[in-house]
């Protein structure tokens, strides 16, 4: 799996301004669905997971002004993970002892997060998922529809290039050029965000 960059410092810096709606919109788009999915994976019911995600959002709004970039201190995502982890612990403490698992979860409520638990790794995966989706949304708007569909059919729907070519009415060579350009752009998009950190 590709290593994804730490949250852009420029974005984090902008979050300190509570009226910077664009920055908060980006933050919300990137993290709130990731926290929701993480909470569901942890075993919270759908509405509890939603509440937790919104609660973390509010907690960050209140405390992000105290976070300063410092090589000796945790990175932003590690700091954020502390807030999420505390929110999950609180959710466990509030849940009745016989609370049922939410559907489709990988971890039950009784499994409290620890310093080295797989949930932290799962948070990274959910974060990467949202980063990738943001990149996809950006690239999809910049390429021809048939180019994007050739990529989607082969990369996401699992079609062969031959099948994709038949569906789209183009030749296999065009499918390969289309999907390779999209993949390259997706990668470049993430790399560009990474460079902005410097």
């Amino acid at each position: 799996m590709v290593e994804f960059p730490e949250t852009r410092l420029s974005l984090v810096a902008r979050l300190k301004n509570v009226s910077d709606h664009d920055a908060w919109g980006q933050f919300s788009e990137l993290y709130v669905p990731a926290i929701f999915r993480l909470s569901r994976r942890f075993g919270l019911q759908s509405h509890d997971a939603d509440d937790l995600a919104q609660g973390v959002f509010v907690s960050v709004a209140k405390s992000v002004k105290n976070w300063v970039p410092d090589p000796k201190r945790p990175k932003f995502r590690a700091w954020l993970w502390t807030i999420i982890r505390n929110a999950l612990l609180n959710a466990i403490d509030r849940a009745p002892p016989d609370a049922a698992r939410g559907g489709g979860s990988d971890m039950g409520l009784s499994e409290r997060p620890t310093d080295e638990d797989p949930l932290a790794e799962q948070f990274e995966i959910e974060y990467r998922r949202q980063m990738f989706r943001r990149a996809a949304a950006e690239v999809a708007g910049k390429v021809e529809v048939v180019t994007w569909r050739a990529f989607w059919l082969t990369a996401v729907d699992g079609k062969s290039s031959q099948e994709a070519a038949e569906i789209l009415g183009i030749n296999i060579g065009s499918v390969h050029t289309a999907r390779s350009r999209v993949i390259r752009r997706l990668h470049d998009c993430v790399q560009e965000w990474e460079r902005e950190e410097l």
Binding site: M1, V2, H21, D22, W24, G25, S28, V32, P33, F36, R37, R40, S46, H47, D50, Q54, F57, V58, A61, G104, R128, R129, F132, R133, A136, A137, A140, G141, V145, W148, R149, F151, W152, A155, V156, D157, G158, S161, I167, N171, I172, G173, S174, H176, T177, R179, S180, R181, I183, R184, L186, H187
Partner: protein, 240 residues
């Protein structure tokens, strides 16, 4: 000399790299695509050059929608619906306020960009899939929405014939007015139509309530969507 060996004369890694960088002239690109059509070696080379290890796997893993994505969308619709019902002001919930402001600013910027650069307005249309196409149970639909499309616009699946239609709204596309959209649609019925459905405020609220209802079935009758108007229809789609 076989066609395969003849086409291999055009194998050129530098040309593939230029294609990936979008620096090939249209005629060169057409020539390269023709070559790739016959040359499996170059297709493999291109795949290797384009794909940073892991990105291809991540695309399949991260872009596919799952049950939690659908839950998240339903919760979003439910929140919007409860806000409308309670008369709650946007400022009562930070995210909605932020999203409303962001969308407003984006729409303003897009509108201004269209005016300044004379960009022709986009039509309200579904560009994919095509009429009578066979699609997978989870397929991607794409299109555009005119900036002056009326009311709220939903991407919906339609079953049935004239005067006996049932709509199954899938995605609220209202925020895409004036630009292109792309959505993944889950549909397991054997035959259906895909519709861009414009509805007034009342109809929009009815749809949100219907989505929030876990017992909903079997779709929203046309009669319950007063003032609904079909902006575009892709007919006779079939699932694999």
């Amino acid at each position: 000399m076989t066609p395969e060996s003849f086409s291999n004369h055009a194998c050129n890694e530098a040309r593939l790299e230029r294609m990936l960088e979008d620096t090939l002239a249209p005629a060169e690109l057409e020539d390269l695509q023709s070559h790739l059509n016959d040359c499996a070696t170059c297709r493999d080379m291109l795949d290797r050059m384009a794909v940073v290890p892991g990105v291809w796997d991540d695309a399949g893993l991260f872009l596919k929608s799952d049950d939690w994505d659908h839950e998240w969308e339903r919760l979003g619709a439910s929140r919007a619906s409860s806000t409308a019902d309670s008369g709650e002001t946007p400022s009562a919930e930070p995210r909605r306020l932020i999203e409303a402001v962001v969308v407003s600013v984006l729409l303003l910027v897009l509108t201004l960009a269209g005016v300044l650069y004379g960009r022709p307005s986009l039509p309200s249309e579904i560009t994919a899939p095509s009429t009578s196409e066979t699609v997978s149970p989870q397929f991607q639909a794409t299109g555009s929405l005119a900036s002056d499309a009326p009311g709220h616009v939903w991407l919906a699946v339609k079953h049935g014939k004239s005067n006996d239609e049932l709509y199954w709204p899938k995605h609220d596309l209202t925020e895409f007015k004036g630009r292109q959209w792309a959505k993944t649609v889950d549909e397991h019925s054997r035959g259906f139509h895909l519709v861009l459905l414009a509805v007034p405020d009342d109809g929009h609220r009815d749809i949100e309530k219907w989505i929030a209802d876990p017992s909903r079935f079997p779709g929203l009758p046309r009669a319950q969507l007063a003032g609904a108007k079909e902006l575009a229809v892709i007919g006779d789609l079939k699932t694999e």
